[in-house]
């Protein structure tokens, strides 16, 4: 394991990145969203301007902008999380809180994703054999390409623009042969990219049914720290932030 550092400072990790990807190692842990809120506060102070998020679809962008401008219309955003991102106790709420925080902090919120129906349609038109030969791409890859385009356009609009993008780790980096944003965005000519992966913490199905997600041993399991590196293929400088299993109280947990 790489050297650990208990001074978890997102501004330091971000450096001069124009795109900082915050990856969650699991959608199931609400705590990762609250860690992201902590990161956003520091990153806004460091000059980041936009907050892009996997968990909202492109078609909601107008609704999001209305919410951003007026503070009205959050209900429809929360409903979407409730419907599609109910991965455990407090998880939909935590996504909602993340969006609320991004607005309050003053970051422009950007929806990245396709809808579930669109993903299904893409996969229906690209079976395993076709994807294997490369004659079409799975919805995972198509989504990565669409997100890349959206983020790249923002970064190319102005040199002042800097994006924090929140997504599952296997979109930020390549999972198997499905190229991750770390590579796709570089291919767009944007070179200052960093990736921070959230690990550890705990995930709960109910208030009384939680599971620790840390792979660390002994005292480290309950320690808050970060280390440089990522155990799988990655094309940019990467860090892992370890959330303590017994840390941060949310919703009575």
């Amino acid at each position: 394991m790489n050297k650990i550092n208990t001074d978890v400072n997102y501004r330091t990790m971000a450096g001069n990145a124009r795109l900082l990807m915050l990856g969650e190692s699991s959608h199931n842990a609400a705590i990762y969203k609250y860690e992201a809120i902590k990161a956003l506060r520091q990153l806004k102070a460091a000059g980041f301007t936009h907050f892009a998020i996997e968990m909202l679809p492109l078609y909601m962008q107008e609704k999001i902008e209305l919410y951003q401008r007026t503070g009205k219309g959050f209900k429809v955003i929360q409903q979407y999380f409730d419907e599609y991102w109910n991965r455990g106790y407090l998880v939909p709420k935590s996504y909602g809180d993340l969006v609320k925080a991004a607005r309050e902090i003053g970051l422009k919120i950007v929806a990245l994703d396709l809808t579930l129906d669109e993903m299904i349609a893409i996969d229906d038109s690209c079976d395993f054999e076709m994807a294997r030969t490369g004659s079409c791409s799975t919805s995972h890859s198509v989504r990565n390409m669409v997100w890349t385009q959206n983020i790249s356009n923002i970064l190319k609009q102005s040199n002042q623009n800097r994006v924090v993008a929140f997504m599952h780790r296997w979109h930020a980096v390549s999972s198997n042969f499905q190229v991750g944003l770390d590579t796709l965005v570089i291919d767009q000519g944007i070179l200052k990219i960093k990736f921070i992966d959230f690990i550890g913490g705990k995930a709960c199905r109910t208030i009384n049914n939680c599971e620790g997600y840390s792979d660390e041993d002994g005292e480290l399991k309950n320690k808050y720290f970060y280390s440089e590196g990522f155990p799988f293929k990655h094309a940019v400088t990467a860090y892992q932030v370890h959330i303590p299993e017994n840390g941060f109280k949310i919703g009575g947990l």
Binding site: S26, H27, N28, P57, L58, Y59, Q61, E62, Q79, Y80, E83, Y84, R87, L114, T115, L116, D117, E118, M119, I120, A121, I122, D123, S125, C126, D127, F128, R132, T133, G134, S135, C136, S137, V142, M145, V146, T148, Q149, N150, N153, H168, W170, S175, N176, F177, L184, D187, Q188, G189, D215, P231, F232, K233
Partner: protein, 194 residues
């Protein structure tokens, strides 16, 4: 790649259809013996992000049904890719193309194995030599990987060779056309310019 694509979100907002039904991880009975192989494979793949606690059971089932790539997902989830690499080695020895490609890829990035660029080059070249079906996109991706390796090794002659191959074979254009076609087939009306 995809440098020339620009997407207008305005058209998208105007034409898209939405639905709140469904789930990123459909609920199937894993014990249902009549589940199609493709469904089991898809469940294995999707579980990596959407149901990690079910990954091993779905991927073991997929593996039993002949989907050897399921071992990769198990490796990604557990962090132990030794079974996957053993499978790739065994299949590479018997000359199967996909495992040759996969093994080359893993050696290129040092994933589940110690990084070995020479070995990776050798395997990618073997793939190119043995691949008589000429699947253009896959061939392009092999040349892309070789380009990256030779760039890293500072071999300008070889990297120029692979770069030229990609230019001559419309790599970016093919990918852009494919993306546009797939999005439109899915009812996603984004304005993509090549």
């Amino acid at each position: 790649m995809n440098k020339a694509i620009t997407i207008s979100l305005f058209l998208y907002t105007a034409f898209c259809t939405t639905s709140y039904a469904g789930s990123f991880f459909p609920k199937y009975d894993i014990n249902n013996s009549e589940l199609p192989k493709t469904t089991v494979m898809a469940q294995c793949q999707k579980s990596l992000m959407h149901a990690p606690k079910q990954l091993e059971s779905w991927c073991e089932k997929a593996y039993k049904l002949g989907y050897w790539q399921a071992l990769e997902y198990i490796g990604l989830y557990t962090g132990d890719g030794s079974r996957y690499i053993s499978e790739l080695n065994r299949r590479t020895e018997s000359g199967e193309l996909d495992p040759i490609f996969a093994l080359a890829w893993n050696y290129s990035y040092g994933r589940f194995v110690s990084r070995d660029l020479e070995k990776s080059i050798s395997l990618f070249n073997r793939y190119l030599n043995d691949n008589t079906q000429q699947e253009k996109v896959r061939l392009n991706s092999v040349h892309e990987e070789l380009l990256l390796i030779y760039e890293e090794l500072g071999n300008t002659a070889k990297s120029a060779e692979h770069k030229k191959y990609l230019e001559d074979n419309d790599d970016i254009k093919i990918k852009n056309v494919m993306l546009k076609k797939q999005l439109e087939a899915a009812g996603v009306y984004l304005n993509i310019n090549d």
